[in-house]
Amino acid sequence: MIDDSNEMADAPPMRTRPHYIPLSDAREGMTLGATATVVKSGILRLSLPAGHILNEDSLHQLKAHQAEFIFILEPDRRSDQQVALDASQAAGRLLQIFSGADLTEPNIAGLFDQILAYRSA
């Protein structure tokens, strides 16, 4: 048997990707990236803390309180090369969408920068 314990100990921590998903895509084992709250008529009905790992019970609670989406941290198993490629493709598509825009105009530039940052997260 190969002893890989040293290799495991030296491995960098798993990267995560934060993103919003509809509740219909939520699964047990996913980690909340931000506190999930459900407020109805100004009353806090449900609050699950950031870092909470979804289980059968919390998924039921979210459904029962009609949460529509959650913010999760998804393990990012992509290689550095793939991360760079994905970022490049996202930037390329964004440049295509904004190809007719004047990116020196402050509002357009602000929107472009925020969407690019959102896509790069």
Partner: protein, 285 residues
């Protein structure tokens, strides 16, 4: 160039021959300030429509499965109290307008047409929830869902001309409204406004549809910049991934009217728009 000279009168006349605008939607809008009457209209409509009944009951049963054990919810009033009137109204309005659009959609209309309108409707709702502007969430949803209805009308009249206009807008980086005015003498936003007026939709919804490419002329109506920015964001976020998603201009007065500052605090809003748009489009596929 289209053979037909498009006017307010013939837009309404041709539209009237296609299908009636859903009475349910105008009644829902009319009774927003009367919750009892609004609920009655909503429930009666749902009970007449087996597809939307099934959707509402299915969602209510999913929500109630933990607390009610195996007792299935079969009553629309119970379902509405469980999942909330706003959620049920949103599902029903989207479903009703989807059926209407489907009934008048000409063959060959890209499927992304309605998906984009749903995305803009969802973005408009999220903008209304995010902003402090005094805008009804239901009006925001309906204006977003119908903002491109003039494009559907144009496609019915001249599908080849529409494809040519879309292609030209993509390659020339001109706004689609500018290209349409060159091709047809009028743009889809103006036609949409005429149709909304013909259907007796409220003035704020009519204005939001008519000015969704030129908001600066009607900034006194908060729904106008809101729907305009919602559509810009649905394109910028590439919701539905359609080829026509383009951002060529962004009205500084519209941003100012909504108090929008483009900073990192908006990213959760982008996330909610993306997640809810995907969810809504999946529900009505």
């Amino acid at each position: 160039m289209a053979a037909l000279t498009i006017t307010r009168e013939n837009a309404a006349e041709i539209s009237g021959k296609l299908a009636s605008f859903p009475h349910f939607v105008t009644e829902i809008l009319r009774t927003l300030d009367d919750p009892d009457a609004n609920l009655k209209i909503l429930v009666e409509h749902i009970q007449r429509d087996p597809v939307i009944s099934a959707r509402v009951l299915s969602r209510a049963n999913a929500a109630g499965s933990r607390t009610r054990g195996s007792a299935a919810i079969q009553n629309i009033y119970t379902a509405t109290s469980l999942i909330g009137m706003r959620n049920v109204r949103e599902m029903t309005v989207i479903s009703s307008l989807a059926s209407f659009v489907d009934s008048i959609a000409p063959p060959g209309l890209p499927v992304t047409f309605w998906q984009h309108n749903v995305a803009a409707g969802v973005c408009s709702v999220e903008m209304a929830l995010h902003m402090t502007a005094p805008v009804s969430i239901d009006a925001a949803l309906i204006a977003g869902l119908l903002h491109d209805i003039g494009q559907l009308w144009l496609y019915r009249m001249d599908p080849a001309g529409c494809h040519a206009a879309w292609a030209e807008a993509n390659t020339s980086n001109s706004g689609i409204d500018i290209v349409e005015r060159e091709h047809f003498g009028v743009d889809h936003a103006t036609i949409g406004g005429w149709l909304a007026e013909h259907w007796s939709l409220p003035a704020n919804i009519t204005a939001a549809i008519a000015h969704h490419h030129a908001p600066d002329e009607a900034l006194h109506e908060p729904l106008v910049p809101l729907v305009y920015i919602a559509e810009v964001l649905s394109n910028a976020l590439d919701l539905t991934g359609r080829d026509e998603n383009r951002v060529t201009t962004l009205s500084a007065p519209a941003c100012k009217a909504l108090g929008l500052v483009w900073n990192a605090e908006l990213r959760p809003l982008f996330g909610r728009m993306e997640a809810r748009s995907r969810h809504a489009n999946a529900m009505f596929q």
